[in-house]
Amino acid sequence: MLAFALRRFAALLATLMVASAVVFTAMEVLPGDPAQVMLGTQARPDTLAALRLQLGLDRPAPERYLEWVAGILRGDLGKSYTYSTPVAELVRERVQVSLPLALLALGLTAIIAIPLGAVAAARRNTATDVSIMGATQIGIAVPNFWFAMLLVLLFAITLRWLPAGGFPGWNAGAWPGLRALILPAVALALPQASILARVMRSSLLETLSDDYVRTARAKGLSQGQALRRHALRNALIPVLTIMGLQFSFLLAGTIIIENVFYLPGLGRLVFQAINQRDLVVVKSVVMLLVTSVIIVNFLVDIAYAIVDPRLRRGR
């Protein structure tokens, strides 16, 4: 197990190194000079040159790359051009929106999807199964930002139960903050839950035909008992894998939903930073998002290997 974990960890480090080089290079080739953006088009050439010097833009790229990586390792993500605050501080603020939102959405996804998928598998080929699967087909086809608009129309504009957008901040109390995240979380969860319910169903169907379930039935358990005591736990393995992927998607992929609801999260931070050519912010936050995706995948692989020892030998 330790050898497997170490091997995977080495691969993780290698991937992170490649990722950092790609992110840095991408920012280098993007057109647009940060100094020019900060000073505007009217700036005098000597002022521009002075600012470039101050920002360190005159030094060779490899040098700046190493400095950037060393900074990240120390927890120093650089300083934003436009906000004039350390990026780490901006990230800390924004994570307080993005992380609870992602967790809330993932929790909703699991609460909806796992029971639905299990019921569909247990009542396979009945009307219940067909309607659940039909509903998930539609759930997958609905764009989450459109669903978000419909939710706003119903719960914010018509019923006035929940806010249509914005975030009051956690200082205003837990409930107002949570209230602002409910609709975005539901909008994010619908397509994810539809996917997960289908994974749950097919995974459970597969385990139900496994030998140990047949053995359990042979020793006198009912189909329902065999399902609850033996099949369910094993069926959850692929479900957890998909949830790991979904979590990283939710963390990085909420840009659109954050835009619909005017939430000050990480996605919006990147989106605005690119528009303002605040490349220090873009570079560090993108790297952070990619890192979290890679780390979540790593943890899922490790969890997988703990649950299923057969996987340790492969790869």
Binding site: A19, A141, P143, W146, L153, I157, I256, V270, V286, V290
Partner: protein, 288 residues
């Protein structure tokens, strides 16, 4: 002697297709959307790009079937022309993804176990970890916003998907008897890949292509919604939704039609993909 492709459409194929409900429904919807897009080149009830403030926000009527938007444009005509945008962008994106991903996956399978194999598949993993939306936003800085930007961004996202499908499909084939026979006959690895492996993963690629088309439609809508897709005056379902958002209190119906158009199209393609999968692999459909 070349091997018969595993899933060659035979006489029974059509008969089974006509009995397969989700295939029929999916094919009908997809065909309908494609026909609507094609028709929009020669006929729409009104010109979808003409702005006429005098007839703004008309409710649905005999003249404007789905009413008009705040600029007086006919919603139904915009939906029709918007189908062209959706189909064109996702189709090209699938072309990019399959055109680059499939050869990469085949090459990795051909050199299985080697460094090249490892390199290609780790690269695929890496691209997959990169949020597609960020690629789109960065590409905009290079190409400016527009259809090309959307096609490339979605296409890049498609590459690792096709690479994995091709790899996964090709790998077991290399152990099969007909590949052994081809080797004994003196064919080189590259020739075996082209003549024997590729035809046999064709059905896998088609099924995945259908799924990626539907994801492409969703992605195009999302990109247009945040202003990274096709630019005005070309209509796009995603941008129609963006424009409807500010009018939610006044004219919520503007948000309904484009959303439904997306859902129906994506649903149709997904049903078509599921149907094709069952039809190409009858064993699978009987088991389920």
């Amino acid at each position: 002697m070349s091997a018969a492709p595993l899933a060659a459409p035979d006489a029974g194929f059509l008969a089974r297709a006509l009995r397969h409900r989700s295939f029929l429904l999916g094919a009908t919807i997809t065909l309908g959307v494609v026909l609507m897009a094609a028709l929009s080149f020669v006929w729409t009830p009104h010109d979808p790009t003409v702005i006429e403030i005098a007839r703004r926000l008309r409710p649905p009527s005999a003249e404007h079937w789905l009413g008009t938007d705040p600029f007086g444009r006919d919603t139904f005509s915009m939906i029709m022309r918007g189908a062209v945008t959706s189909i064109a962008v996702s189709f090209v994106a699938v072309g990019i993804g399959a055109g680059i991903g499939v050869p990469l996956g085949l090459l990795a399978a051909q050199t299985r176990g080697g460094l090249l194999d490892q390199g290609i598949m780790r690269f695929a993993d890496f691209v997959f970890a990169f949020p597609a939306l960020l690629i789109a936003i960065m590409l905009r800085e290079v190409f400016g916003p527009g259809a090309i930007n959307a096609m490339i961004a979605i296409g890049i996202f498609n590459i690792p998907v096709f690479a994995r499908v091709a790899y996964g499909g090709a790998l077991p084939l290399w152990q099969r008897d007909f590949v052994m026979a081809a080797r004994v006959a003196g064919k080189g690895p590259a020739r075996i890949t082209v003549e024997h492996i590729l035809p046999n993963i064709g059905s896998l690629i088609i099924v995945q292509g259908t799924i990626q088309l539907s994801l492409g439609i969703l992605a195009e809508a999302a990109l247009s919604y945040i202003g990274l897709g096709v630019q005005p005056p070309l209509p796009s379902w995603g941008r129609m939704l963006f424009e409807a958002q500010t009018m939610m209190g006044l004219a919520p119906r503007l948000a309904i039609a484009p959303g439904l158009a997306i859902v129906v199209t994506v649903l149709g393609l997904n049903l078509l993909g599921d149907g094709l999968r069952d039809l190409f692999d009858p064993r699978l459909s009987r088991e389920r």
